[in-house]
């Protein structure tokens, strides 16, 4: 049995999902010969630690660690001080300065620990540097959950399609935008009406800028450009147009001609914009689903689809990365 001592950094929606999944999948992991122990959880209020593994049922009752933390250690200090092999970094993303995730990732890789993350911001800002830090310290650095949630994009390209030349990746990478555009098309309602509906259902934030202006999609485009195409792209290299200008009339006219309108991110052209997608296209998925078409030289175009966000869904991508490192 291979023992994996993991430090979970970030205890929000995704962090809770990770603990839930670790609990549910304990026996399956054991069948694979993996004994995954989350020896510490840290958030902005402190850390809870247990060498035998933190009890998931105990921590899942609380939204934060405020009342259950056993140490005041936080962030980088905790990552460096706690004896672990793996850091799971799931703090909220920030594409402007990348913090606190960037510091956490540097601390983890700098300490020779493997890193699995769902946090886009640090990868958008410093992918090449983090990758080099991982290589220099002989660490594994996995980030499937940063692009497309459960949609198996990175692993599909890096493992299944290995040997293929990837010409382009085009797809729907933001479930909030896809939900809004789907509802506008279905009900002929305005953008603002569909946005309010998405907010009521919890699919959109109160401040939806990050999603609807295409910033989130652009971040994913940068990660794909750097991770898959070996580019040294920055957020500012992406030409971004969001969905706020799309009218119900545009969707109706598109429908009449056999198209839907979707917010499409493209690599390596580094664009994010609303585009006409043929109704019969496999990229045409509704509601909060994501999809991506990978154009290759040997395998033609392969399209994948899946839930782009959610607590357990993101945790599933994280679990897949962990297993791929240790199995």
């Amino acid at each position: 049995m291979k023992e994996i001592k993991a430090s979970l950094v970030g205890f929000g929606v995704v962090g809770h999902g990770v603990m839930e999944v670790v609990k549910r999948k304990r026996s399956i992991l054991r069948d694979m010969g993996l004994d995954l122990k989350v020896v510490s959880i840290s958030d902005h209020t402190g850390s809870i630690m247990n060498e035998a593994g933190v009890d998931a049922d105990y921590v899942l009752k609380d939204k934060t660690l405020e009342n259950i933390a056993t140490s005041s250690m936080k962030g980088q200090e905790a990552i460096k001080a706690i004896d672990s092999d793996l850091v799971i970094e799931v703090t909220p993303t920030n594409v402007v300065h990348g913090q606190p995730g960037l510091g956490h990732m540097e601390a983890a890789l700098g300490s020779g620990k493997n890193l699995v993350t769902s946090n886009k911001g640090p990868l958008v800002l410093s992918f090449s540097r983090l990758k080099k830090l991982a290589d220099d310290n002989h660490c594994q650095f996995k980030y499937e959950a940063t692009v497309g949630g459960t949609m198996p994009l990175m692993s599909l390209i890096e493992r299944t399609l290995v040997g293929n030349t990837i010409y382009s990746i085009k797809g729907i990478f933001n479930g909030t935008c896809n939900y809004i555009l789907t509802r506008m098309a279905q009900e002929s309602i305005s953008y603002s009406h569909a946005l309010s509906e998405a907010q009521d259902l919890g699919y959109a934030e109160r401040d939806p800028t990050y999603d609807v202006e295409g910033i989130d999609t652009a971040g994913k485009v940068v990660i794909l450009a750097n991770a898959i195409f070996g580019m040294d792209a920055k957020y500012s290299d992406v030409k971004v147009t969001g969905i706020t200008q799309v009218t119900p009339e545009a969707l109706a006219m598109a429908k009449k001609e056999g198209y839907v309108i979707k917010l499409i991110g493209e690599v390596p052209s580094l664009t994010v914009k609303p585009m006409l997608v043929p109704m019969e296209s496999p990229l045409n998925v509704d509601s909060t689903l994501n999809s991506a078409a990978i154009a290759t030289d040997l395998s033609g175009t392969i399209t994948v689809t899946g839930l782009g966000a959610g607590s357990l869904e993101t945790a599933s991508a994280i679990l897949s990365d962990i297993i791929s490192i240790y199995r």
Partner: protein, 168 residues
């Protein structure tokens, strides 16, 4: 010279071969044959578009031979604008001089706006237009779209273009 013909065939076996024989006899090189089974005419005929390379002087002979075999030729002629792309525009389309927007494409010499539908839901509310642009080739379609992006940026219009076929 590249030409195209729009034919209407009966929905019975062997019609397509019958239609192509005069083209073979007149040394036409067939570039493409598109069978629009989904767009049957009210009389139950199937529209077929054939794109060919052939000597223009033989077109009347081909038409006559097709007529003899009972195939109706709806249109035949030089196919200059062979590529077509749909585009949706959103913004103050009319008040940002729609005539100029169309002229800028038409004046390229290689592309034209061949269809335009405009919806104006209210004063001071952005309008939406559906445009169909035809051009002499794929590269020219790309150039026309690039030009439309430049014009639309000047006029603050949103351009919604189709995703490329290989990804769709």
């Amino acid at each position: 010279m590249r030409l195209s013909m729009d034919l209407e065939l009966q929905d019975v076996p062997g019609q397509l071969i019958t239609a192509l024989q005069p083209l073979k006899d007149n040394k036409a090189n067939i570039i493409s044959v598109v069978h629009h089974r989904d767009k049957k005419t009210p009389t139950g005929m199937i529209p077929v578009r054939v794109v060919i390379e052939m000597d223009r002087s033989r077109i009347e002979t081909v038409k006559a031979q097709l007529k003899e075999t009972g195939i109706s030729v709806v249109r035949a002629g030089e196919d200059r604008l062979i590529e077509e792309i749909p585009v949706v525009l959103v913004g103050h389309i009319l008040h940002s001089d729609l005539g100029d927007t169309v002229d800028r494409i038409d004046s390229t010499g290689f592309a034209e706006v061949v269809e335009l539908n405009l919806i104006m839901p209210g004063i001071d509310v952005p309008s939406t237009a559906y445009l169909s642009i035809r051009a002499t080739g794929k590269e020219e379609i790309r150039k026309a779209l690039d030009l439309l992006h430049v014009v639309s940026a000047e006029k603050r219009l949103l351009v919604i273009e189709p995703i490329e076929a290989e990804a769709a």
